[in-house]
C-alpha cells in the first residue's frame, strides 16, 4: 500500500488509529459470514471530520473504502472485497443525546446495539431492533443492513426505527437525511439509505426512535412432536388477529444442540418448539397469552409452558439467541441461510429443506423467525474439504431457489453483500439491477465505497472460503 497514504492516515489519526501490519489485519479479513477478504489497512476515526478526511485521502489515492461496525454481519458487507481501507467505527461509539420526552436518541454508528437499550432502560424505553448479535453488533451496522431480529415481528425492522442520519458521501460531502421531526419533505432518502449495505455513504451519526417498554411480556414455550403442528400453530395465531411480539421456531435437531450448550430446558426428544412473546398492557398480554396457549394446544402441542418470571423468560430467550453459538460447537463450519417465504408456505418449505439435506448428505438445522416467514436453515459442513463446501453452497442455493418459487426472497435480514450477489438475477432483471446501480451511482458515482457488493460480478463460482474458516454466530 502507498506509503504516503499510510503516513497521511497516521498523521490524521495517530499511529494507534491505523493498522496495516499483516498480523493486525488478519482479524479484519472476516465478518460473520463464510467470506474472506483482506484490507490494506484499517483506520479508526473518532469524529465526522476524521471520516471526511479519510474519504478525501482514499479519493486522492483512488483506493476503495469499506465501513465496518463490529463485523458480525452474515453476508460479507463489512469486508474489503477489493482491498483498500476499512474504516472501523469502533471509536465512534458514544451516545450523544438521549431525549426521553421525545423518545429519541442520537448516537454514533459504533455504539453497540444492546448498549443503547441498557442506557435507556431506567427511562422505561428501549431500541426495538434486536438482532441475535445485539450484544456485539453496532447500530451503524444495523442501519447499513436494515437489521431485523426476533422482536421485529410486531415492531418493525431497523428502517422503522431510524429517523435521521448524518452521512459522509464518497465525495467527502456531509449530508443529513431525514430529521428528528417526522416527514421531511422530498424523496425518502433515509428510507432508501437504510439497508443500502454500506454502498451509499459512511454513516457518522444516527437519530433513532426509542419505544416504551411494554408493561408486561409473557413468554410461552410450546413443545411439539411434529414440525407440521408447530407451523400450523403459527398460521392460526396470525389468522386469529394476534400479532405476537416475537414468534420463533427451532426444530428438534437445533433444540438438542442448544440444550447441550445452554440448558434452557428445551426437551431433547421433541420435533419442534415455538418460543412466543406477547406483550402490551397487563390485561392484553394476559389474555393474548391465554389465547396463544389455546391455539398451541389445538394444534397438538404436547406441552405449553408459560415463563413464570423474568428469569425464566431470559433463560428461554438465551436458548434462542445462543442457538448459533451452540451449533458452532458441533461442526468445524456452518452456513446459515436467510431465506424468506410467505408464512403459510412454512410446512412445505421445511419438507423441502429436509429433502435437500438428505440429497447432499448434510444435517440441516432449522431455526427461524416463524412469525414473519424468515428462515435460517443451518448447514453443517467441513470447510477444510473443498467438495463439502461446494455442496453446502449448492444445497443452500437450492433452498433459496425454493424460497423464490413459493413467492419469497433471498434475504430477510442478513443482506446480499458478497454472499448472494450472484443470486440477485433470480429476483431482479438485468434492467432492474442496472436501475439499482444507477441509484447507487447517485451516492457513490466512482463505486469506490464498498465495491463488489450486492450486484453480480464476473467470474462467480470461485471458492469463497479459505479452508478452516470459522464463522462467528448470528
Amino acid at each position: 500500500m502507498d506509503s504516503q497514504l499510510l503516513r497521511d492516515l497516521k498523521k490524521l489519526l495517530g499511529t494507534d488509529g491505523v493498522l496495516h501490519k499483516p498480523e493486525d489485519l488478519l482479524l479484519y479479513e472476516y465478518d460473520g459470514s463464510v467470506e474472506v477478504a483482506r484490507p490494506n489497512c484499517v483506520v479508526f476515526p473518532r469524529t465526522t471530520a476524521d471520516v471526511v478526511e479519510i474519504v478525501r485521502l482514499a479519493n486522492r489515492h483512488q483506493i476503495p473504502l469499506t465501513g465496518r461496525g463490529a463485523g458480525t454481519g452474515l453476508s460479507g458487507g463489512a469486508l474489503a472485497r477489493r482491498g483498500g481501507i476499512v474504516t472501523s467505527f469502533a471509536r465512534m461509539n458514544r451516545i450523544l443525546e438521549i431525549d426521553a420526552e421525545n423518545q429519541r436518541a442520537r448516537v454514533q454508528p459504533g455504539l453497540v446495539n444492546a448498549d443503547l437499550s441498557v442506557a435507556v432502560e431506567h427511562l422505561g424505553l428501549h431500541f426495538v431492533p434486536d438482532p441475535s448479535s445485539q450484544k456485539a453488533c453496532t447500530i451503524g451496522g444495523n442501519v447499513s443492513e436494515n437489521s431485523g431480529g426476533p422482536h421485529t415481528l410486531a415492531y418493525g425492522v431497523t428502517a422503522n426505527h431510524v429517523l435521521a442520519l448524518e452521512v459522509v458521501l464518497p465525495s467527502g460531502e456531509v449530508v443529513h437525511l431525514g430529521g428528528a421531526a417526522l416527514d421531511a419533505p422530498g424523496y425518502d432518502l433515509l428510507g432508501v439509505f437504510v439497508g443500502s449495505e454500506g454502498t451509499f455513504g459512511l454513516v457518522t451519526e444516527i437519530t433513532v426512535k426509542l419505544t416504551r417498554l411494554p408493561e408486561m411480556t409473557k413468554t410461552l414455550l410450546a413443545i411439539y412432536d411434529s414440525v407440521g403442528d408447530a407451523t400450523e400453530t403459527v398460521v392460526e395465531i396470525t389468522s386469529r388477529g394476534i400479532t405476537p411480539a416475537a414468534c420463533e421456531m427451532l426444530d428438534g435437531w437445533t433444540i438438542r444442540a442448544v440444550e447441550a450448550y445452554v440448558h434452557a430446558g428445551f426437551p431433547a426428544d421433541c420435533a419442534a418448539i415455538l418460543l412466543i412473546d406477547v406483550d402490551g398492557l397487563r390485561e392484553a398480554a394476559e389474555s393474548q397469552a391465554g389465547e396463544v396457549a389455546e391455539v398451541c394446544r389445538l394444534h397438538r402441542a404436547r406441552e405449553v409452558r408459560l415463563a413464570r418470571d423474568a428469569k425464566e423468560r431470559d433463560l428461554l430467550w438465551k436458548g434462542r439467541k445462543n442457538a448459533f453459538g451452540a451449533v458452532g460447537r458441533l461442526s468445524p463450519t456452518y452456513y446459515t441461510q436467510d431465506g424468506v417465504i410467505p408464512r403459510t408456505k412454512l410446512p412445505e418449505t421445511l419438507r423441502r429443506v429436509d429433502e435437500i439435506g438428505k440429497k447432499y448428505g448434510f444435517e440441516i438445522g432449522n431455526i427461524f423467525h416463524a412469525g414473519d416467514g424468515n428462515l435460517h436453515p443451518i448447514i453443517l459442513f467441513d470447510a477444510r474439504q473443498e467438495q463439502q463446501f461446494r455442496n453446502a453452497v449448492a444445497a443452500s442455493d437450492e433452498i433459496i431457489q425454493f424460497c423464490i418459487e413459493v413467492g419469497g426472497s433471498i434475504t430477510g435480514e442478513h443482506g446480499v453483500g458478497m454472499e448472494k450477489d450472484r443470486l440477485m438475477p433470480l429476483l431482479f432483471s438485468e434492467g432492474e439491477l442496472a436501475l439499482m446501480q444507477r441509484v447507487r451511482d447517485v451516492f457513490n458515482p466512482a463505486g469506490m465505497l464498498n465495491p463488489g457488493k450486492i450486484f453480480p460480478t464476473k467470474g462467480c463460482g470461485e471458492i469463497r472460503v479459505r479452508p478452516g474458516a470459522q464463522p462467528a454466530s448470528a
Partner: protein
C-alpha cells in the same frame, strides 16, 4: 407529432374510448389551472409502458393521477400534456389473508379495498382524507398521513414492494411481497410521497393488519393548549398504546362549515384531545380510567369535560379528524393549510406560535395536531376580498419564517389558493440532501417527463 397524432396513437394502443381530448372532459384533470391536452386511461402495466415511451419520445409531460383528490399538493407543473389516469388499473392482484400480504394496482379505490379486507377481518391503517374517493396509488404517491400513524406508522412502514414504470418506459420492481425482505435497494420508498415525479406505480404490495375487534374514542376538552399537550405527554409516558391521539382547536369557527363542524370539538376556543384505543373490555376500561386521570392532572383547572364517545359520535368525530387536512377544499372562503412537523415536546411552542402569527395577521385559524408531532394548520381569509387574500398570504409567509426561526421543524403548504404559488414555494427551502434528490430524479426520469416542477425544489 401533433397533439392529434399523439392522441390517435394512444387510441390505437389503449382504445379510443380511453383517450380524452375534449376540453370539457379535460377540465377534471386541471392542476392549479393548467389543463392537459390529453387524458389517457390505460388498463394494464403494458399500456402504461406504451404511453410513457411515446411521451418520452415526444418529450411530453405526464402527470399520473388517481381519483384526482390531491392534485393541488405541490407546485403547478411547468408543463402538462398528458394526464395518466390510473383508475382503470383497479385490480386486486394478490391477497393472502394468512400471510397478511396484499398486492394491488394503483387505481383500486381505498374504500372498495377496505370491504375486501374486512371480509377477512383485516384492514390497512389508511384513514386518509378524501376517503370516499381516494385510490391506493394516490394515497401512496401523495404521502398523506393518517391519525392511525400513532400506532401503525405510515405507508413507508408497511409498503413491502412495488412495480413501477420509469421515465424511460421500463417496468421495474423493488422490494417484494413478503413481510421481511432486504434484497436490493428499497427504491419503492422513494416512490412514496414523490407525487409521481419518479415513475408510474403499476403494483403496490402492502402488509395488511388484523382489524381491531373493539375500538373506543375518548374526548377530553381543555381550556388551554398546554394542558392538552401535557395530556398527550402523559399518555406517551404511560403503557397505553393508543391508535391515535389528536388535539384540535380553532381560533375562530367561521371557517368551518357549520353543517359538518362537530360542535364538541370547537366550542368556545377550547382544545380538544381525541384518543382512540383498541382492545378487549378490560383494556378499554383501564384505558378510560387512566386517560381520565391524565386529563384531570394535566392542569388542575383546565379540564372542562371528559367523555367516552358512543358509536355514532365516535364515527362522526373520527371522520372529521380524518378529513381535516382536506378542509380547504370544502371551505367556501380561500384557505391555506400547512403541514408542520415538530418534536412532540414542541407542540406547545407551536400553539403559541400559531397564536402570535394569526393575531398579527388577523386571520381565522384551526389546527389539528397529531400526537406524533405532525400538525395541520388551517388559515383562512375571512372573505374573498383582495385585502383579505393579501393578509392570508402574508400569514403564510410568517408561518414559513416561524418554522425556521422557532425551530418547529419543516413546514409544507399542502393546500392554498393557486395564485399564492406564484410567490410562495409551497415546499419551503431545500436541505443539504437536495443534490442527491436531483440525481435520483435524473436516474428514474432522465427526460424529465413526470410531473415536472411539482415537487420539492422545482423537481
Amino acid at each position: 407529432m401533433t397533439t392529434a397524432a399523439v392522441s390517435t396513437r394512444f387510441g390505437d394502443t389503449i382504445g379510443a374510448a380511453n383517450v380524452a381530448t375534449d376540453p370539457a372532459q379535460l377540465v377534471a384533470y386541471q392542476i392549479d389551472g393548467k389543463t392537459p391536452t390529453t387524458a389517457v386511461r390505460p388498463g394494464s402495466a403494458k399500456e402504461v409502458v406504451e404511453i410513457v415511451r411515446c411521451a418520452a419520445a415526444e418529450k411530453l409531460a405526464v402527470v399520473p393521477c388517481g381519483a384526482r383528490t390531491k392534485l393541488s399538493i405541490g407546485m403547478p407543473p411547468r408543463k402538462y400534456d398528458i394526464a395518466l389516469d390510473t383508475t382503470r388499473l383497479d385490480r386486486v392482484i394478490a391477497y393472502d389473508p394468512g400471510d397478511l400480504t396484499l398486492g394491488v394496482e394503483p387505481g383500486v379505490a381505498l374504500q372498495k379495498l377496505s370491504s375486501v379486507l374486512a371480509e377477512h377481518g383485516q384492514f390497512l391503517p389508511l384513514s386518509v382524507p378524501f376517503m370516499e374517493r381516494a385510490t391506493m396509488g394516490g394515497t401512496t404517491a401523495s404521502g398523506v398521513d393518517t391519525p392511525l400513524r400513532q400506532f401503525y406508522g405510515t405507508p413507508r412502514d408497511y409498503v413491502l414492494g412495488m412495480e413501477f414504470v420509469t421515465g424511460e418506459g421500463e417496468i421495474s420492481k423493488s422490494g417484494g411481497s413478503v413481510v421481511k425482505n432486504v434484497t436490493g435497494y428499497d427504491m419503492h420508498k422513494l416512490m412514496i410521497g414523490a407525487l409521481g415525479t419518479l415513475g408510474v406505480m403499476t403494483r403496490i404490495n402492502f402488509r395488511t393488519f388484523p382489524l381491531p375487534q373493539a375500538t373506543r374514542t375518548y374526548l377530553a376538552t381543555f381550556r388551554w393548549a398546554n394542558a392538552a399537550c401535557e395530556f398527550r405527554h402523559s399518555i406517551a409516558r404511560s403503557p397505553l398504546r393508543p391508535l391515535s391521539i389528536e388535539i384540535i382547536a380553532a381560533g375562530d369557527t367561521v371557517m368551518l362549515r357549520a353543517d359538518e363542524r362537530p360542535s364538541e370539538l370547537f366550542e368556545k376556543r377550547r382544545w380538544s384531545a381525541l384518543v382512540s384505543i383498541a382492545g378487549k373490555e378490560d383494556v378499554l376500561a383501564r384505558s378510560r380510567r387512566e386517560l381520565e386521570s391524565f386529563a384531570r392532572t394535566a392542569d388542575r383547572d383546565s379540564l372542562e369535560s371528559f367523555s367516552e364517545l358512543g358509536g355514532g359520535d365516535q364515527e362522526r368525530l373520527n371522520s372529521y379528524i380524518r378529513e381535516f387536512p382536506a378542509l380547504a377544499t370544502r371551505s367556501s372562503f380561500p384557505a391555506a393549510i400547512f403541514k408542520i412537523s415538530v418534536l412532540p415536546k414542541n407542540l406547545v411552542g407551536l400553539t403559541e406560535g400559531i397564536h402570535s402569527v394569526t393575531m398579527r395577521h388577523d386571520v381565522p385559524w384551526a389546527v389539528m395536531m397529531r400526537g406524533v408531532g405532525v400538525a395541520y394548520l388551517a388559515l383562512m381569509a375571512p372573505d374573498r376580498g383582495a385585502e383579505s387574500l393579501q393578509r392570508l398570504k402574508e400569514a403564510c409567509v410568517s408561518v414559513f419564517r416561524s418554522c425556521a426561526e422557532r425551530g418547529w421543524g419543516r413546514g409544507v403548504l399542502v393546500s392554498c389558493p393557486m395564485e399564492f404559488k406564484q410567490e410562495i414555494n409551497v415546499w419551503g427551502a431545500v436541505s443539504d440532501d437536495f443534490a442527491l434528490m436531483q440525481g435520483l430524479k435524473k436516474v428514474f426520469d432522465p427526460h424529465g417527463i413526470f410531473a415536472p416542477g411539482r415537487f420539492v425544489g422545482g423537481i
